[in-house]
Structure formats: C-alpha cells, structure tokens
Amino acid sequence: MKRAVAAILTLALVLTALWFGRAASAPASSAATPGQCIDRMFAAGESGDVDAYLACFTGEQRMQLERELAAQPRENFASGLVAAIEPLKGRAVVHEAASALTAEITVERVYAHRNDLQLYNLQCQDGRWRIVSVRPVQALQPPVPYGTPVFEMPEDTAQSGK
C-alpha cells in the first residue's frame, strides 16, 4: 500500500513538474511584455514552429489562423511562416503604446527593396501578452534602400581622390 501511495505521489509530482515545465517552455504564451510577444511571434515564424506561433495569438485572430492551418497541410503552414520571414533584412518596432491590459505595436519589416508597416493590437490575459488583431500590411518606400553604401565615389572624382 505504502509503495502504491509513494508511486502515485511520485507520478503526480512528475506530472506536475512536466506540466509546469511545459508551460515554461512554451515561449509565446509566457510573453511578459507586448514586445516579447512580438519577438516570439517572429522567432516562431522563422523556425516554422506552428504551435509557438499560434500561442502568440488569441481571440478571433487566433481562430482565423487556426482555420487557415486547418485548410492546409501543417507543413505548408509552417513553411509559409518561414518563407515570410526569410527575406526579412530587419524589423523595427517603430511605435509601442501600452496600458495595463492592452497594447499597440507598429512593426516595420525591412526587405531588400521595400518596407512594410504592420500594426498589432495585443491583450494581456493572466499576465501573458497575446496578439488579438493585426491590421493589413501597409507598403512603405524607405527613404534609403536597404544596403545603400554611405558613399559611392563619383566617377569623375574617383581618380583625383577629391
């Protein structure tokens, strides 16, 4: 009897530890700040981690993503995430406004030949931030194309050095 109780208790402890361990390792669901949630969303997308990606969203936005996921093979969804991130040269959080429970973050995605602007609305539930809506992408023409050298020697002065 004692052995059985001990075994049950041990199993319960292990399961509890695993449960909490699982919660801790779910990166998107533990975002303590709105910014962290966006970072994790990008990280999950880059690695094609569908669960982690979905965990960054909540509400209607998440349901929509789940519907999209259901409409295609999981691998296609994952590779779509990776493909969306792959050409990215950089990303800038250009605006962040947060209250205790809601936040708004504007992210500028920098590509080789264009930039995109996207606004994310987030909510804090149980201390965890998740994306509740994403506004449509707004294309931007950057003032200077990505990768432009700071100086290119003009042809007529290249030889003289002045």
Partner: protein, 913 residues
C-alpha cells in the same frame, strides 16, 4: 527626404555664396586668410600658419558687416586704414616696473597721504605667481620690487589690488588658491596683508567658503575704510560678496546678492554719505545685464536695473561724485550674445520655416553674421550712465570722440572720480593692425578720457599699451588733479598683432587737464533698439530642453549615469590666428559656458595653449581651476594642436594641471619663428610621438575637421588616446560622409568652396572602414557658439570621470540639446562586444523639434531609415542579417529644423551559435 533637404540646403548655400561673392567680405591673400577663420576660403597653398602677420590689403566687404550697437557712424565705412600704434614707453617717458624676469599682469596703484605712489602687480615667475610691490621715490623714479609674502611659497594668485587705510598702511588684497593637488583644483579665497613702516603685518584670510572667491575689487571711503567686493560661488553660482575694514578689524563676508543665476565682476565705489554702491553684471534675466545695488551699514538696498536690453551688457564699473551722482559704465556687445552662430546658420530655416534671405545676421552679431546669435568676440562699445535721484541718465557717447577712421570698438571700462569731481574713464580700444577689411588683424590698446562740458575728452592712448582684451588696469585720481594709471601690456606690435612678446607692467601719470571738470546736461538713458529683424532668444524653451537632458538617468554596467553637455573646442584671444577679435577673452569663455550655453563641462582649446606662450598657458590653466564649479561646470586643461593634412588637427585635454604642451616636432630645416598656430612641417612620426606622450600623461586627443586641409587621411589612430572624433563643428561642417547632413556636398559645390578645404579621405566613414573605433562628439571651433555639443554619459561630473567616459566612447554629438540613447541589450553606444544572437538596437530620442529622419548605418551601409515626424521616438531595430564577425552600427538623427545628432557606433562581433 534627407537628400532633398541637403539639396535644398546646397541650393541655398549656392545662392548665399553668390550673394556673398558680390557683396561679401573678401578673403585677402591665401597667406593672409587664416585657415582657422570659419567659413574662410581654403588657402591654396598648405604651409606654416604660425605667422599670419602680413595680410594683404584689399578684398570686398559686405555692407554692414561691422555694424555694432549704437555705432551708426562707421556702418558704411568699408575701407579702414590701420590705426596709429601707441608710442613706446621709452619715447613717452613712461616707467616700466617690470624687468622681464617674469610675466606681469593685474597692475594696481594707490597714493598715501603724503602723495607717495605704490604699485603692485601679479608676476608669473618660474612656474608660480608672486605679487611685487614698488614705491615711487621722491625723485620720481620707482623703487626696486618688494615681494609680498603670500600664503603658499609657490602661489597661484588672481587680481591683486592695493588700498591705503587711515593709518597710511598699504594693504595688498589678493585671491590665492590653496589646497590644490596634482589631480584636484583647490580653494580660491581672498586674503589681505598690510605693509607698514617697513614691516609686513600678518595675512588676514577674508573668506573661508570652500568654493571659489574670485574677481575682487577694492576701494576706500573718505575715512579710508577699505571695501572689498568679490564674486563668491557658495552654490556654484556667482554671488556678489562684500567685506570691510574699519581701521581695526575686517568684517565677515556679507552676501549682497543671492540666487541661482550668475552675478559677475562686482565693482564698488563709496558715496560721500557712506553708501557703498556696487555695480555688477548678471545673467538673471537670461542675458547679461548691468545692475546697481547699495549697502549702507549692513542693509542691502534694492537691485536697480541700469542696462537690461537683450544686447550683451557686462563688465560694469562704478564711481561716486561728490555731488551724489553714481556713475556706471559698461561694455555693450552683440544681441543674443553666445546664442546660435556658425557656418550652417545661414543655410537653416528660421522660426518661420524660411531660409535666411541674406547671410547677414543682426547688427552686433558675428562679424560675418552667421546666425541669430552674436559671437563671443562680437563688437563692443563702452556705454556710461548716471544714476541720479532714482533715474538713469545717459552719459555722452564715447564713440563721438574716437578717431573717425577707427573701428570704434571699446571695452573693459574703469571709472574714477577725483576730489575735484572730474570723471575719468579708462577703457580698452581696438586698433586695426593693417589697412583693409580683414577682421582678424586687430589688437587692443589702453585709452583714457575725462568728461568735459562738451562730452568726453579726446582719448589719450597710453604708451606701450598694446595687448589683449582681458587687461584689468586701475586708475587713480591724484590729489593734484592728475591721474595715475597702472596697466599691463604684452608688448605686441601692430605688425604682429596676434603675438605677445612679454607681459609687463607700466605706471603712467597724466597731469591735471587744463579743462575745468564738468558734466554736460544729461538726458534719460534709453536702451538700444534691437537690430532689424532680430528676435530675443527663447530662453525659457531652451532651459526646458537643457533640464530634460539633465534630468535623464540611465543605467550602464549597474551604475546610474546622466548625460553631461559640453564643448571641447573653443578659442579665445589667445589663439594667434584670429587673435584678439572674434572669439572673446579667455574669461568670456567661462561666462558663455556656465550661463549662456549652460554647459556641464568644457575646454578652452587655444592653439598650443596660446601660441606656446608660457603666460597664456598659465592663465588658461589657472582659470580652469578658478571656475571649477563641479558638478555645475567642469573645465578641462586643454589646447589645440594643429598639424595640417594629412596628419590632422587635434584637441588635447587633461584632467589635471601642469602637463606641458606637446610642441610640434618641427623639421630642422624650417627657418623662422616656432609656429604658434599650426604647421605642416613636422616629422613623419609627429602624431605617434604625441600618442606616446599622452599615454604617459593620461591625456586624450580628439581629431577634428578631418575632411579638410586641416584634417587627416586617418594614417594614425590610437584607440586609447583618440577614442572619439569631432564629427561636426559649428564653425564649419560635418565630416561624416558626403551626402549626409551638414557635409559639404561635392556633387553640387566645388570641393575648394568648402570652408577649410576638402579632403575626401578625411571623412569619418573612412576611419570606420579602416577599423578605427571612434565615437562621436561635436564642438564649436572659432567664432561658432551654441550649435555644437559633446554629450557624455557619466556617473558623476568631474574631470577624470568625464575623461574616462569619453575614453569609453559613451558619447554622442549634436547641434542642439537633443537627448539620444542607444542600447544593445545591456550595452550602450560606443561599446564593443561579442554576441551570439542577432543585434537588437534600441534608440531613444527626445528631440528639440520634430524628427525628420533617423538613419541606421551598419558597416558603412544604410540598413534602415525612417521619418517619424515626432519630437520623441523610441525605436527598436533587429538586424536579421548581421554579418558573421564584426558589425559596427550607428544612428544619425535629423530634425525637420535641420538640427542633427550623431550617435557613437557600437561594435558587435556576431558569432551565431
């Protein structure tokens, strides 16, 4: 957008340049045109700048370029002739008390009841100061000297003066620094010591405050009680202090003024009723104004405004007539003195968003009109007024009696009234050294005038009085109706207007004038009108911006840091190239830094510490001790070392006093005088030798104007010694990279039109490409004010800490009070570190206007640019494709109004896992 702005600026620049071409100030010959004159056309030939003494006449002058407040007479007088230099002391029979074993300054003279004259002065001798006392003997010749025993054997003193008490004792009153160490400025206090019957009395310490008690002025009343006023700094701001000697005891110091704004240079005179009238200038209204107050018994009277326009009004002097009039004279300078002034002012839009229609600034501003503010050396005119029955009355205009052919520029007045009611006025008077319009060829002489029924008498120029601006002479009406003047001169000649020979002290006695003492009818004093189109500076807005920067706190390596604002490239009368015009005196530097620009630190960087002239360097270092007002203001011991391209100009700074200036390593085939400004004729390893020197002395060097004839092709660098570059200076341009804001644009302008010339290899991007670790600052250089800032993140504001933080490159440069913070994780800009994750750079900016552009550069390529159109931004950029290995990143911020900030780069060794 930024290219459009640069293009617009360039177009405006061309228009302005054309306007200048046809109405502008000529540049004279290449030889004559100093390379250090901001905006000057580059010399065609590189060479020695040490003797810009023979400028060629000629050239065009922009109408009104020499306008000054109240000076209508010469406004259109465009072709000056050189003024006649003063007579030599020998020719005029003026006794020289000095015998050339020392550098002598701060002369003072008194007369005892038997008519005997005594004179004293400060003598810089063998690395320390002495006070030397002389007596005029019955035969008229002066005695040999007697040394006043001071507090310290190797003393450091300031402004000694004399007074005679009721017992005919001659008191010497002086400021002396004590408790200084090799690494720390000491305490300046006021001391007094009497000389009586061939014996010295004991030293009386008049002040005990641990902060500087300086700039004393001494006088006596009719009963020969002695009054001393001075400038105290108990709260790190200047307050007027007073103490008295009643024949028995010295009183305790009495605060005559208090308050957070600075009061400067008090002067005292005693009325017949025993009232001590004290004149001083003050920054209490957001610009320099002249005030009068009084002390009777222990009661301090109200502060009476005398001259309170938005022109610079300072250095007052006061004298009381037997009839009860209180006379005040002061110097009036430029409008918005010390505010924005520099090369780019003329290309930037004004408050109405429009570019200036002409390069000229307001009258009295920078001689070349570069901006809404006036340069520190802007024209001066001595003004005088009488306070009578509660009213301020204007004294006759001194300008009317100055030579019609001259500049009409006067400064540093001193009034005295004899027992016969004659009003005497001593002042400095600027002479042109050569004919023609060049502004730099000026020196100062000493003049004396007195009042007659018709106004001021024709001034007498004192023999052998050539020198700089900052000469504090004393005049003494004599019992016989004459005047004794104790003054100093550095004996410079008109031909070498910029170059001192040796500071000496002279005492001249003027005989009683034949004219009867008289005061003409006086009318109410009227403040000068603002120059056309000039607007008073918005001081409140600026104070709010400064307060925001000062309030900011951040954590670096677990320690709280703040941002301190400074300027590490300023000049004064001690720089031979511009000489005693344009940049003001070495003492003006402190007014400007402490009050006008509200700087937290700074360095006066005269060329070779004042032409490698020992006394100038001594005064520069002494002043840096006197005005050590940490944490409010921290001055460095600094100088500019100017070797031409490709070696480069550098400013050198130290956190402690007494490091000799590192002389140019001149080639031995160079004839002539050792250069006092700059040179191209140095040994190949000159810069490397400088680095070696600074490694031993703990100093820093900061290269500047790198993309000009005074710049460098980046052949040398030592990250320990040269951790930052002056990427922009108000006197000229930015040297970041062509196409960037405030960089001379060679796509639309000739390279040779760039002020100081153009050297492509000197642009800072080349240094970064070579792998140099260079942070960014900006600072002013000649003529420019209030538009170049060096900003440093520091845990506390003292010399060594600032220097250490500059060495760590925790810096940025800006043209205005912009707050910029760049972080990568726990690291701040300027740092170098390894990272296994992609860098995320966080930029915070609090602008002084809406931000037009933010650019992020990685490895000399733009990787991100945005136009936020907001005053405050926080931006977080993650580089998704950093290069494996070294990446350097920096942000540049451009406001809609053209103000710019350059963050220091951060160097990240990216090692992905």
């Amino acid at each position: 957008m930024w290219r459009w702005m640069v293009g617009t600026c360039v177009a405006a620049c061309l228009a302005v340049a054309l306007a200048w071409q046809f109405g502008g100030e000529g540049s004279g010959s290449a030889r004559a045109q100093s390379q250090e004159e901001p905006g000057a056309k580059a010399p065609e030939k590189k060479g020695d700048q040490g003797n810009p003494a023979q400028p060629a006449p000629g050239g065009k002058r922009r109408p009104g370029a020499n306008r000054r407040p109240g000076a209508g007479r010469n406004a259109q007088n465009l072709n000056f002739k050189a003024d006649p230099p003063p007579e030599s002391p020998a020719a005029a029979g003026v006794p020289v008390l000095s015998n050339n074993d020392s550098y002598d300054d701060f002369a003072s003279v008194v007369q005892t009841s038997d008519g005997t004259l005594y004179a004293a002065y400060a003598a810089y001798y063998d690395g320390h100061d002495q006070i030397r006392l002389h007596k005029r003997l019955p035969g008229g010749q002066w005695s040999t000297r007697l040394h006043v025993p001071l507090v310290q054997a190797r003393a450091d003193i300031w402004m000694p003066q004399l007074a005679v008490d009721a017992k005919d004792r001659v008191w010497v009153i002086w400021c002396e620094q004590t408790d200084q160490t090799r690494t720390k400025s000491g305490n300046w206090d006021v001391y007094a010591r009497a000389f009586e019957q061939d014996k010295w009395g004991s030293i009386v310490r008049l002040t005990h405050d641990p902060k500087p008690d300086i700039n004393p002025h001494v006088t006596t009343d009719a009963k020969h009680n002695i009054y001393v006023v001075w400038q105290g700094h108990s709260d790190n701001n200047g307050d007027v202090m007073l103490c008295r000697f009643d024949g028995q005891d010295w009183s305790k110091p009495q605060a005559v003024t208090t308050g957070s704004e600075s009061d400067w240079y008090p002067q005292v005179a005693l009325a017949a009723d025993g009232t001590a009238w004290i004149a001083f200038d003050s920054y209490r209204n957001g610009d320099y104004d002249v005030f009068l107050t009084s002390v009777k018994g222990d009661e301090v009277g109200p502060v009476i405004p005398i001259a309170t326009s938005k022109y610079y009004e300072a250095h007052p002097t006061v004298a009381c007539s037997p009839e009860g009039d209180v006379w005040v004279a002061w110097e009036q300078g430029g409008y918005n003195w010390g505010k924005d002034n520099g090369y780019w002012s003329k290309f930037l839009p004004g408050p109405d968003g429009k570019l200036p229609s002409a390069p000229a600034g307001p009258a009295g501003a920078h001689p070349e009109g570069r901006g809404p503010g006036a340069a520190l050396g802007s024209t001066r005119a001595v003004k005088a007024a009488v306070y009578r029955d509660g009213k301020v009355l204007a004294a006759p205009d001194l300008l009317k009696v100055l030579p019609a052919s001259g500049l009409g520029v006067t400064a540093m007045p001193a009034l005295a009234i004899g027992s016969d009611s004659r009003v005497w006025l001593r002042f400095r008077h600027q002479n042109r050294a050569v004919s023609g319009p060049r502004r730099a060829t000026k020196y100062w002489v000493e003049d004396v005038s007195y009042l007659t029924e018709q106004g001021w008498s024709k001034p007498v120029t004192l023999a052998g009085s050539t020198g700089r601006t900052s000469v504090f002479s004393r005049i003494l009406p004599l019992a016989d109706g004459g005047l004794a003047i104790a003054y100093s001169s550095d004996q410079r000649s008109a031909a070498n207007y910029h170059q001192p020979i040796h500071d000496q002290v002279l005492v001249w006695s003027l005989a009683k004038p034949e004219d009867r003492p008289a005061t003409p009818e006086l009318e109410a004093y009227e403040a000068p009108q603002p120059p056309p189109n000039a607007k008073p500076w918005d001081t409140e807005a600026e104070q709010a911006e400064v307060a925001a920067v000062r309030k900011f706190r951040t954590t670096i390596n677990g320690q709280e840091h703040r941002i301190v604002r400074g300027d590490l490239h300023r000049h004064s009368e001690f720089s031979w190239d511009v000489g005693p015009a344009g940049d003001g005196s070495y003492l003006d530097f402190y007014r400007y830094m402490i009050d006008v620009a509200s700087m937290d630190f700074g360095g006066l960087t005269d060329h070779q510490g004042g032409g490698q002239y020992a006394y100038h360097w001594w005064l520069i270092e002494k002043a840096a001790d006197m005005y050590y007002l940490a944490p409010r203001f921290v001055p460095f011991y600094s100088y500019e070392r100017s070797v031409n391209y490709p070696n480069g100009h550098r400013n050198v700074l130290h956190a402690y006093r007494g490091v000799p200036i590192f002389a140019f390593q001149i080639k031995l085939d160079k004839p002539g005088v050792f250069p006092g400004v700059g040179t191209a004729d140095v040994l190949n390893d000159d810069t490397k030798l400088l680095y070696q020197y600074l490694h031993k002395s703990g100093g820093l060097a900061i290269p500047h104007t790198s993309g000009t004839n005074t710049g460098t092709d980046w052949r040398d660098n030592d990250p320990e010694i040269e951790p930052v570059v002056e990427i922009y200076q108000g006197a000229r341009n930015s040297y970041e990279v062509v196409g960037a804001p405030r960089v001379h644009d060679i796509s639309t302008m000739k390279p040779s039109d760039a002020p100081g010339g153009y050297e492509a290899a000197g642009m800072v991007w080349n240094a970064l490409a070579k792998g140099y670790r260079l942070g960014n600052i900006s600072s002013s250089d000649h003529g420019s004010t209030h538009m170049s800032y060096a900003l440093v993140f520091v845990p506390q504001n003292d010399r060594q800490t600032i220097l250490d933080c500059i060495r760590k490159r925790q810096t940025y440069g800006a043209t205005d009070n912009m707050l910029v913070d760049v972080r990568v994780g726990e690291h701040i800009m300027g740092q170098e570190f390894d990272s296994s994750s992609r860098p995320t750079l966080v930029l915070k900016v609090q602008g002084t206007g809406k931000i037009d552009r933010v650019d992020l550069v990685r490895n000399n390529r733009y990787i991100y640019a945005t136009s936020p159109r907001k005053r405050e931004i926080e931006l977080k950029y993650t580089d998704m494709e950093p290069e494996t290995g070294l990446n350097y990143y920096y942000f540049r911020i451009l406001q809609e109004d053209g103000e710019v900030a350059w963050a220091s780069p951060v160097w990240i060794h990216y090692k992905p896992e």
